[in-house]
Amino acid sequence: MEPIPSIRVENLTRQYGAITAIQNINFTVNPGEVVGFLGPNGAGKSTTMRILSGIMSATSGSAWVSGICVAQNPHEVKRKIGYMPENNPLPDDMRVVEYLRFRARLKEVPGNKLRESVQEVMEICDLARTARRKIIGTLSKGFRQRVGIADALLGNPEVIIMDEPTIGLDPHQIQGIRTLIDNLRGKLTVVLSSHILPEIERSCDRVIIINRGRVVASGTSESLREEFLPGNRFDVEIKGSEPDLLVALKEHGITSEIIHRQELGDNTHRLSLRTEGDETKNLGAQLIAALSQSPKFTLHSLAPRVPNLEEIFLAATKRSWEETIENKPKAAAKA
């Protein structure tokens, strides 16, 4: 028997009046996975997360958390989910430990385990020594964020949903939160959204990109790279003219295309190449061979370039944008 997925979403749609925030979203998240939710502002990330956590109802479609339907049994779902909303709202005039104890009581942590479990999440989020008795209103952004995460961890949830946990943090704090998420990997299912793409790439096993209310891509960053940005990319710095370079490469059987160029003066160029060649052979070596044989230019440097999530994200969201524009006239014609 297959294990029950932690989150399963089928044809989820939510409309705010005439505006469709999300439309027919489908995805599954397996237990123990760390999944990143990506999308431009207003893509529907927060809406999806709010529906999953049972705060908001969907217009149509269904969502299951650990096999429990969110619409039919929201109370049971809330026991299984730790949710940290966008902007991480906290009451300003409570102390950290008081707030966490209050939340633990609400999350039905048994009385005899209350102190223990609050202490445990404070240790995990590094709040126990530094900020235990501080008033939340006086905490720095990083500490507030940690209080929010500690709150999400309370009550042993199976799934943790965090809406932009790293927003507004400095690199040290981001590092801290990344380590925290790494520690949770395998134990809990974590869904997080972020704008900071390298962040998602490093901490997530899988990425779901949504744009304009639809899932436009889903998979590991490797698979997305192949889907959206096929071919190999190289950064080359050469002395010589560009057309000569392309001709020289063609002679060696390498089709290539210049996707970005920068003049460095003295007839030197820094170029980004996209090449389509036999991947089984060592393309880098071929390029070096081709360029160094030709007397017309001198190769200064050559480095393979792995597209980062940012480029994948831009390619994926741009593609879906074009798709929707193309779809529009058809829809109008149908109507």
Binding site: I55, H75, R79, P85, L90, P91, F102, D151
Partner: protein, 254 residues
């Protein structure tokens, strides 16, 4: 039910640690103390046929207009505007418990403020024993009736405030809304009564309805020690209706 008590405890704790609570109580007691003093002083100068406590209860509307909006405007609107209502909704807490705990917190505080005014007749009784020999200052019937009236009408007033607070995210709007609604409910009933008195050809059932809504008439009865069940029904049923509506609003507007 368990969540209700956790939330209520939290509400009361937040009330106890926030400075506005103390400022509001001091201002309320100063104002009410001044009014009581003015009533006693008036009685010294000219004999009155009403007991001081009856006169005191007849100005209940002055503090209601500002205390109720101030107490309730923050409760749900404030939580919604800073977003803690969302975090509350992600816990397995029912919405009824949320609304009821907000209501009970405000109601308990409101009643505590009123019971503190019981100190005025007690002080007057202590300082001027000769004045109270006739039992005019500490008249049990009117005091019991008056506080019972405040306790029952308080249910409706606080429920109005909670409802106003539940339909908006701005505390200012919530405050204005509860103030105007309270005004209509308290003064409007009286105005209806005046119209009814002036026009003779009112239908009988309309007359009964108007009487049913007359808050000042209820007060009159209560502060004379006459306890009627109709006002109880009016205040509690309307309060339950408003709280139910607030629950629905929170459910829909989350």
């Amino acid at each position: 039910m368990r969540h209700y008590f956790i939330l209520l405890k939290h509400e009361l704790r937040m009330l106890l640690i926030s400075p506005p609570t103390y400022i509001a109580s001091v201002l309320f007691l100063c104002l009410m103390g001044f009014l009581y003093w003015a009533i006693l002083r008036g009685m010294v100068n000219a004999p009155a046929d009403m007991l001081p406590s009856v006169q005191f209860f007849s100005v209940f509307w002055i503090p209601v207009f500002f205390v109720v909006p101030l107490l309730t405007m923050r409760s749900i609107a404030g939580e919604r505007s800073i977003g803690t209502l969302d975090t509350l909704m992600t816990t397995p807490t029912s919405r009824v418990a949320v609304v009821l705990s907000k209501f009970s917190g405000a109601y308990i505080f409101y009643m505590l403020l009123w019971f503190a005014t019981l100190g005025f007749p007690l002080i007057a009784n202590k300082l001027y024993p000769q004045a109270s020999e006739g039992g005019a200052i500490l008249d049990m019937a009117s005091l019991t009736g008056g506080y019972l009236f405040l306790a029952t009408s308080g249910l409706l007033f606080i429920a109005i405030g909670i409802f106003a607070s539940s339909i908006t995210r701005s505390q200012l709007v919530a405050g204005m809304l509860s103030f105007t609604t309270l005004f209509v409910v308290i003064v409007g009933g009286q105005q209806l009564g005046n119209i009814a008195e002036n026009s003779v050809d009112l239908v009988v059932w309309l007359d009964a309805t108007v009487n049913y809504l007359q808050i000042f008439q209820h007060l009159d009865d209560f502060s004379r020690g006459i306890i009627d069940t109709r006002p109880f029904f009016y205040y509690t049923s309307t309060a339950v209706l408003l709280l139910g509506l607030s629950t629905l609003v929170i459910e829909a507007k989350a």
